[in-house]
């Protein structure tokens, strides 16, 4: 993973809500705003935003992917941090784009975009220097470390913040490094393998008997939750930022 050595910091942040959350998971985007504002950030939401380009990039259509990344670069102008509640969208901008743009004349501008992009939990810990989260969450949670977080600061940040909540226990599951099987368009191009991978992940997670499955990427959770529901045995899922927000709400720290 190409993770920028130095990244934009500061409390004037632009929110990248992601296409998936724009369509399905508005509460995760909302929780991101609430948490960042609680931490004293001024959050801006550029309304022209659409997507990071990852679906086309993974599908091998790099011409289309570049078009979408260029749109993102134009939309998120400025020099402050861009915060996104999805590890894979963040990785698209600092790792994927580096591959797709290596021979392009506008690579410097795209590199600049990547060097401003943070996954939100990584931003809270490494960008804002928060080491502890006040509040309570009396739950056993399983944390799925999504594949696109490999080599980034997010898994450690998530464990640090979640682990500091009073009453919260992180239960470890078998084969934690194994992918959930979502993989973007992989999930519909290879439906059989994708579903088998997901069921195996669910088995491993259920064996740890968590009350809640938590991740830093809703795409994995959309897949796992959807599989569990289809199998007639629903599994509660939440983005880590929702867990942090809920802990603040429960203590009346945010409205």
């Amino acid at each position: 993973m190409i993770v920028p050595a130095e990244r934009a910091v500061g409390k004037q942040v632009q929110l990248m809500a992601t296409c998936l959350y724009d369509a399905f998971f508005d509460d995760v985007a909302r929780a991101t705003v609430q948490v960042l504002e609680y931490l004293g950030c001024e959050v801006v939401f550029p309304e022209g935003q659409t997507c990071c380009g990852q679906p086309a990039f993974n599908a091998g259509d790099w011409v289309v992917a570049r078009k979408v990344v260029r749109h993102a670069a134009a939309t998120f102008s400025g020099s402050g941090p861009i915060v996104v509640p999805s590890g894979s969208c963040a990785a698209m901008l600092f790792h994927g784009a580096a591959l797709a743009f290596e021979h392009e004349p506008d690579w410097p501008a795209v590199r600049e975009l990547g060097a401003r992009t943070w996954e939100v939990l990584d931003f809270i810990v490494s960008g804002l220097g928060v080491r502890k989260w006040e509040g309570e969450c009396r739950k056993k949670i399983a944390f799925h470390s999504s594949c696109h977080l490999r080599g980034t600061g997010t898994p450690a940040a998530a464990r640090l913040l979640l682990g500091s909540l009073r009453g919260l226990e992180i239960v470890e599951h078998a084969e934690p490094e194994q992918c959930c099987g979502f993989g973007g368009t992989f999930s519909v191009s290879f439906p059989h393998i994708s579903a088998n991978m997901g069921r195996l992940k669910l088995e491993n997670i259920r064996a740890a008997e968590p009350d809640l499955l938590v991740a830093a990427d809703m795409s994995c959770l959309m897949h796992l939750r959807g599989l569990a529901e289809k199998l007639g045995n629903p599994l509660p899922v939440k983005h880590a930022i929702q867990v942090l927000r809920d802990a603040l709400s429960a203590e009346g720290k945010i409205k």
């Binding site: 091998g60 393998i193 289809k230």
Partner: protein, 470 residues
């Protein structure tokens, strides 16, 4: 377990045909090897990642200077008394090897396990010319008597269990059915002994060739490569040109990594260092050593952005950790090299026939465990798989398009914010539509195994707007 309907992709279709028995063999063996690799590396080295990076740098350096190291290796091998040959492709390699054998009247061959001989289908070629080549690695021997294909580059019969092996032995006249592993091994051993003693030549690959000293390095657990070189007077080693390492001291890095990554052992039972034919005064060993360097598309790969794949030391760790390989097993990849390494290497080695295997790089969820966690020489495997998807799209658009939903409409939408917002709002209609019956293929492929969450397109934007206009 309810089965999901299968669609067009060959690897996905293959998975539906994998029996539960094969799946469990492959999955558990892969998981065990992955865990042992990780445990041993963490136990034995303070910073395994750093060691992997160093190994990757040595390999990269060697490939960058192959024009220097290859002639150096040739000079060292010749100094040691070996004869060196070059083969541009599989066809030439087969002819060179056949000619060496023919000129010496060799009809009976014992072979030590070698993926590169699989790559050029050497056994079939020799058999057609009346030369018997017996595989002496137990796994490869079972593959051979079954007329099967290896399904893993290190453990070729990971897809078989001992009952199937006992049946194969019975069929092949190696005794009545007995599935006790020790009995099976003893029978194979007895059968092999006579073959070793009667052999005219031993054919091996090489795990490494040291440029500085001309040393051929072979690692095995069964000692079969040593036996293959004990009685025969002729040794032929077929070696890919990428197997060169600069100096003996580099072997410390590679042997420590190779064996731990391959089988989760500290060291294999046998590690041989071969410096040419039997010297005066030595009591055993071949009197002639031939090294055939095989290109077969490698120098072409070296000139491309996919060159990092040539760092591979064939440990199989990427197969073992790969969640797709664990579901699909090796035969799904329709080529000699399966798993992540195969999904990159096989289409590239196919050269002009790239399109035939262009679907393999797509059979991957881009989880990155192979290159990020497992590969002992840090090959960025998932980046290479992504690059090959781009290549497939550029060179064979219609073919590759079959594997993924078309992206053109998506681009139009994603580059036009007004259209995007419109589509998000209109998409709410989805909530009122019987999705399981939807005629749109990607949607039905999703809903065959999973529910869709409630569509809430535009909700966040409405919340944002309301909040900022209060």
């Amino acid at each position: 377990m309810n089965k999901v309907p299968c669609f067009g992709q060959p690897v996905d279709k293959f998975v539906a045909t994998v029996s539960d028995e094969v799946y469990h063999s492959v999955h558990s063996a892969s998981a065990i090897k992955s865990d042992k690799r990780r445990e041993l590396l963490a136990r034995d080295f303070p910073d395994p990642r750093r060691l992997r990076e160093i190994a990757g740098q040595i390999k990269r350096h060697t490939l960058d200077s192959l024009d220097k190291y290859l002639p150096l290796a040739v000079a060292s091998l010749e100094r040691n008394g070996a004869k060196v040959h070059f083969a541009a492709d599989g066809d030439e390699a087969r002819r060179v090897i056949h000619q060496i054998l023919q000129e010496r009247g060799a009809r009976k061959i014992v072979k030590s396990k070698s993926m590169v001989t699989e790559e050029i289908h050497l056994n079939d070629y020799l058999a057609e010319r009346g030369i018997e080549a017996i595989e002496t690695d137990l796994g490869e021997f079972i593959v051979q008597i079954d007329g099967d294909q290896p399904s893993h580059i290190v453990t070729p019969i990971v897809h078989k269990n001992r009952r199937q092996i006992a049946e194969s032995f019975e069929r092949h006249g190696l005794g009545a059915y007995n599935d006790d592993p020790e009995t099976i091994t003893r029978r194979a051993r007895k059968f092999m002994r006579d073959k070793y003693l009667a052999a005219d030549a031993g054919i091996t690959g090489a795990n490494f060739v040291v440029a500085e000293t001309g040393r051929l390095v072979l690692v095995t657990n069964e000692g079969n490569s040593r036996f293959s070189l004990a009685a025969p007077r002729l040794h032929i080693a077929l070696v890919g040109i990428e197997k060169i390492v600069p100096a003996d001291r580099d072997l410390a890095v590679f042997l420590n990594l190779l064996v731990r990554s391959a089988t989760g052992q500290q060291f294999t039972a046998y590690t041989e260092f071969i410096t040419g034919p039997r010297a005066d005064g030595q009591r055993s060993g071949p009197s002639e050593t031939h090294v055939v360097f095989l290109d077969n598309g490698r120098s072409e790969i070296l000139a491309t952005e996919y060159r990092d794949i040539l760092r591979c030391i064939r440990c199989g760790a990427c197969l073992n950790i790969c969640p797709v390989y664990r579901q699909a097993s090796g035969h799904a990849y329709r080529s000699v090299y399966p798993g992540p390494i195969g999904a990159v290497l096989s289409p590239l080695l196919a050269g002009g026939d790239f399109a035939r295997l262009a679907d393999l790089p797509k059979a991957c969820s881009v989880c990155g465990a192979c290159g990020g966690d497992a590969c002992p020489v840090c090959i960025p495997l998932s980046d290479l798989l992504l690059r090959l998807r781009d290549k497939a799209k550029r060179e064979h658009a219609s073919l590759s398009a079959r594997g993924v939903p078309p992206m053109g409409g998506f681009a139009e939408l994603a580059a036009r914010p007004v259209l995007w917002r419109g589509a998000l709002s209109a998409g709410r209609a989805l909530n009122y539509f019987p999705l399981d019956l939807a005629p749109v293929p990607p949607l039905s492929r999703w809903t065959a195994a999973r529910t869709l969450p409630e569509f809430r397109g535009g909700e966040f934007r409405r919340w944002w707007k309301k909040r900022h206009h209060e």
